[in-house]
């Protein structure tokens, strides 16, 4: 039996769910202007996926990102390989979560951060780095080496993971002149230099509120 349709009418995530719940042995072909891909199902799982040049979970992710295209479901077709070992729902959920984060990421501009925060009381300077240590917003003061402070963030985060958590909220350094806060925000690092007169907890709440307002 062959079922044909458009991804606009039936989302690929739903097609996957249906085939897994029904424990179908099936092949789903997806054709769009970005390429053609294949998903294979057996024993209630996705067992193999191809979407050139990817195979396995990455191919599933790429296919789930398609909004337009045709699909064809063929029952009884066996998979030529077994490249996916994780349960289908983990593969789909992780992919959808990643896609959602990517969408949010593209909607937000780190360029607004420095302008938004710099006017707040107690703040001396704001700059934003990516995880590689490249400046993406704001200005660096003379005594700040961006790669050095990206290294510091990386190490502090590593310390927090020793406590069985990936929930790193923020960190700060203190010298005799002030604080340097490091806050993770949307795959970037917001560094805020503040004077010693601030009250840390209130200050961080204010920063987080302002960052939230950026969308």
């Amino acid at each position: 039996m062959v079922l044909v349709g458009n991804l606009k009418d039936l989302r690929l995530a739903n097609i996957i769910q249906l085939n897994c719940m029904e424990r179908n042995i099936a092949k789903v072909t997806v054709s769009s202007h970005e390429g053609t891909g294949f998903l294979y199902f057996a024993e209630g799982q996705i067992v193999h996926a191809e979407f050139s040049p990817y195979i396995g979970e990455k191919a599933v992710y790429e296919m789930l990102s398609l909004h337009d295209g045709q699909f064809k479901v063929e029952a009884g077709v066996q998979a030529p390989a077994h490249t996916i070992k994780r349960p289908w729902n983990s593969v789909v959920l992780d992919s959808l979560r990643e896609l959602d984060e990517k969408t949010q990421q593209s909607a937000y501009s780190p360029k607004k951060i420095s302008a938004t925060l710099s006017t707040q009381k107690g703040i001396k300077n704001v700059f934003v780095l990516n995880y590689e240590g490249d400046l993406i917003d704001g200005n660096l003061t003379e005594n700040i080496n961006p790669h050095l402070f990206t290294f510091i963030w990386y190490k502090l985060k590593k310390v927090s993971t020793l406590f069985y958590t990936d929930n790193f909220s923020y960190a700060y350094l203190k010298d005799y002149w002030g604080y340097l806060f490091i806050i993770e925000f949307r795959a970037s690092l917001v560094f805020v230099e503040a004077d010693l007169n601030i009250i840390v907890d209130n200050f961080v709440k204010m920063i987080e509120k302002n960052l939230k307002s950026l969308g």
Binding site: G133, E142, N143, I144, N145, H147, L148, F149, T150, F151, I152, Y154, K155, L156, K158, V159, S160, L162, F163, T165, N167, F168, S169, Y170, A171, Y172, L173, K174, D175, Y176, W177, L180, V200, V204
Partner: protein, 148 residues
């Protein structure tokens, strides 16, 4: 011993889970923990801090203290000329209170004959905390970029 003598005010604060003092070669001078705290974690934590402060030394700022806030608590660290202090707390503990106690009590501790005696007792090994063998690939990459 030195913690219960000089920093007993800290051990009495509700929510303080661990206090550790290390010599600058990463040998522990004294460790105090509450009964539920896993002491083994501290062994790994201190190396990271020595690396952090070694790198900060090369910055043009004089950062001597760090605080990490994560879901389950806070990790406070401060470096001194011959030692490193690490304090692990629950989230509700006020860092300003810890800082206040340390400013007074650590000075007493560092200047005490007892502490100076401990320092002299064991010859200090020269540790290269930023040697590549103690760093992961990403850390090596960052440090390479710092130098260029």
């Amino acid at each position: 011993m030195i913690i219960s003598e000089f920093l007993k005010d800290l051990t009495r604060i509700e929510g303080i889970q661990a206090i550790a003092i290390y010599r600058s070669d990463n040998s522990p001078l004294d460790i105090w923990t509450d009964s539920k705290f896993n002491k083994q974690i501290l062994e790994q934590v201190s190396v990271h801090y020595f690396q952090i402060f070694s790198v900060l030394e090369s910055s043009l700022r004089d950062f001597h203290e760090t605080v990490i806030t994560y879901g389950k608590g806070k990790i406070f660290s401060r470096v001194f000329p011959d030692s490193l202090l690490i304090i692990i707390t629950h989230p509700n503990v006020e860092i300003s209170l810890i800082r206040f106690i340390i400013n007074v009590k650590m000075t007493e501790l560092l200047n005490s004959r007892q502490f100076q005696k401990i320092l002299k007792k064991v010859p200090k090994k020269k540790m290269q905390f930023l040697d590549n063998k103690y760093l992961d690939e990403q850390e090596i990459k960052y440090l390479k970029s710092v130098k260029t």
